[in-house]
Structures are given as C-alpha cells and as structure tokens.
Amino acid sequence: MEHRIIDQQLDILRDKILLLGGTTEAAVQRAMRSLIERDSELAKKVLDEDKVIDQMELEIDRLSIEILALQHPAAHDLRFVISVAKITPILERIADHAGSIADAALVLNNEPQTNNYIDLSLMAEIAAGMLRTALDAFTAEDAKVSRDVIERDKKIDATYRKVFNELLELMIDNPSATTGAAHLLFVAKHLERIGDYVKDICELNVYLREAAFIKHSPRG
C-alpha cells in the first residue's frame, strides 16, 4: 500500500476524536463522582473542562471540512470522515450532559443527602461503560459490538424508570426532600440521554463498517 497524503490527515482526525471521546468519558465519570462523593471541587473541574471539549469539537469540524474539500475522500475514507463529523457533536453533547450533572452536584452537595444514589451510580456505570465500548468499537470498526452496545441502552432506560418512580415516591413521602429529588431527577434524565447518544454513536460505527444506515430502522 502506498502512502497517501490523506492518510496522515485521517490519522490526525482519528487521534483527535479518540482524545475527545476519552475526555468526554472522563467528564461523565468525574461528574458522577463529584455527585456521589460530594466533591464540589471536582464538579467545578468538570465545568472548566467543558471549554476544552468545545475547542476539540471545533478542531475536528475544521479538519473534517478540510479533508472533504481538499482530499475528496471516497468509499471507506469518506465514511470515516462523515462518521467522525457526526460523532463529534454527539460527544460534545454528552459532555454538556456531564456538565449539567456537575451543576446539579454543586447544588446537591450543599443540601443534606436524601438518596443513596445506588441506582444512579448503576445508570452512570452502564452509560460510561457503553460510551467506552462504543469508542473502542469505533476504533476497531466492530459493527457487532456496536449493535450489542445499542441493546444495552434498554438497561439504562429501565433503570431510569425505576429511579424516576423512587424519586417521585421520595417527594411524596418527604416533601422537604423535593428540591434535592428534583435535581436528582434531572441527573437521571441526563444519564438516560447519554445512553441515547451512545446509541447514535454505535449506529454511526455500523455505518462506518457496513455503509448501512440502521438509524430509524425497526431492528435498530
């Protein structure tokens, strides 16, 4: 295989999106830790880091457009650039959700703890695990693993429903816990949305590998 000019740029693009993916994954984990361990300093770090993530998104956007305009990628190269360009804003949105969880942590950490966070930790664990596996599957271009990850989203959704009901009951039983419970509801919703976004990433992994659009298809 001859060395192509585009290869160098595709390598840079791959490095950049993996770095963004890793940073996003860390943001989700740190945001949850800041909540569970009541570590407000860590929550602030998550919020600060969001600017770095926004910057990474812009860099990837610029590079993707440059490759499309100047190198005219085709076939797998084209699918790769398109996938990266579509995964990038998804990662940025996941990081925004991590930021919102950190915001909630900053409020909740100043309130008495009303919930043991067990199910929320479980949701976060599944979401972070899904994200990690989705990024590994992107690197390995593994469509099978990506499809498996999509299935895992159901577990997050089920846990979300459970958490939702528990927090509702908590609010009814203990009206003084309403503020905290409301914030926790948002945290649960953010985690549930992260699961949806990871699903979108996995659908793009399948596109990269198989050139098949599985989004909006009944079999997912």
Binding site: A75, L78, A211
Partner: protein, 252 residues
Amino acid sequence: MESKISISNLDFFYGKAQALFDITLEIPDRQIVAFIGPSGCGKSTFLRTLNRMNDTIPIASASGTVRIDGEDIYEAGTDVVALRRKVGMVFQKSNPFPKSIFDNVAYGIRINGIHNGKTDLAERVEKALVDAALWDEVKDRLNTSAFGLSGGQQQRLCIARALAVQPEVILMDEPASALDPIATQKIEELVVELKRKYTIVIVTHNMQQASRVSDRTAFFMLGKLIEYNPTQKMFTNPDEKLTEDYITGRFG
C-alpha cells in the same frame, strides 16, 4: 431497466496480446456509464469495441458478443458505417476539420445524405449546435473557421458534429481531460443534459468527473472488469477491495 448495449463474454486481442478478458456488461438505455481504471487497463479499448473503431487496427480481433438493441454488431454483414452513425464518438483531443463551424457540423449530415435541402441542413446544424450548448456562442459566426474557437468550444463542436447524424449512443473518450475547469463543467453539464435523449459511455481518468456525471461506473484493471455498480455505491461502498484501493488512491 432496458439495456441499450449488452456485452457478453467479450475477449479482445491485439495480435496475440489479450487486452480484454471475458467482459460481460449491460449498458442501460439513456443512462450515463463511466469507465474508470488505470492507464492500460483496457477501458478505451473496450469503449472502441462498442462501435467497432478497433476494426481500423489490422491485428485486432474480438470474440464474444456486443449487442446494441439486440443486434450483434460483430456479426458478418453488419453495416459498420451505419453502426458508427448510431454510435457516435467524441475523443480526448478535439479534432475539428479545417473548415467553418457550420461545415464541421454539416459534414456528417452531408456524407450520410440525411438532409432534405438547404433549409433542412441548416436546421439540423442549428439543432445539433443547440443540443451541444454551443449555438448561442457561435450563431453569429457560423462561417468562420472552427479553429477560432476555444478548446472547450471546439470540444462541444465535436459533440455537435457527433449529434448531427442523430446517433443513439455517444462514446466519449476523456472528453474533458484537456480542458480548464469551466470548460470541463460545461461539458459535464452537457453530458448530463444529453442523457435525456442518448445513451452515453464516458471514459475518464477523473474520478470526480465519473462520480459527478455517471449513473453507473465500471472499474477495469489489466483488461478485466473488476466491478460494475451504481456510481453512488461505487464511491461510497464498493464491493471489491481493488475498486476501493483504486478510487481512494491506494495504488497508482
């Protein structure tokens, strides 16, 4: 979709050297098919088998069948002149005759005797020039030399000349490779426009050109047809690794 040209098991030889191996391919009516592949892959040779232009090479021989509208053009007794009227050709280098613009376009009409008097001839010339998107640029200087035209205009004149004899298929061998981007764009727009009336086969080294204008793309290598698929598929998700390697520049 109905086939205009149907090629089966075509082998082609220059003397003992085999240039095409067992090509089987259907070219649909009023579509644009692009042939791509590295130099020497046989795409131009193949193009020329479609109107028997290779007959002019004494050592050339072909086996297999090429059917146009169901008739085998290699069958004994085929009227090659009529075939070439039906299957016109435009070459890489524009080759206008050292005549006026009008006479260039009128040439084929006259020698084929397919006009009915002077007015009819003029009408046919005008129609061909209009169809080749050249009329507006030359209508006031039809009697000046064709050599006064720009490269892009000369190429469109050659297309008008091909259209004048009312072909059904137009073969184009790198029609825009010597032109600047603006002239190239005009030729490409013209090719897409001509699809409404004609079946077009275009050989090109310019992959973007193939992807821009064609409905289907055939990729050739070393005289073999490697892949033939809708253009959209060829450039986003080809079936063959060789095709992928070629269109993404993995080998020269």
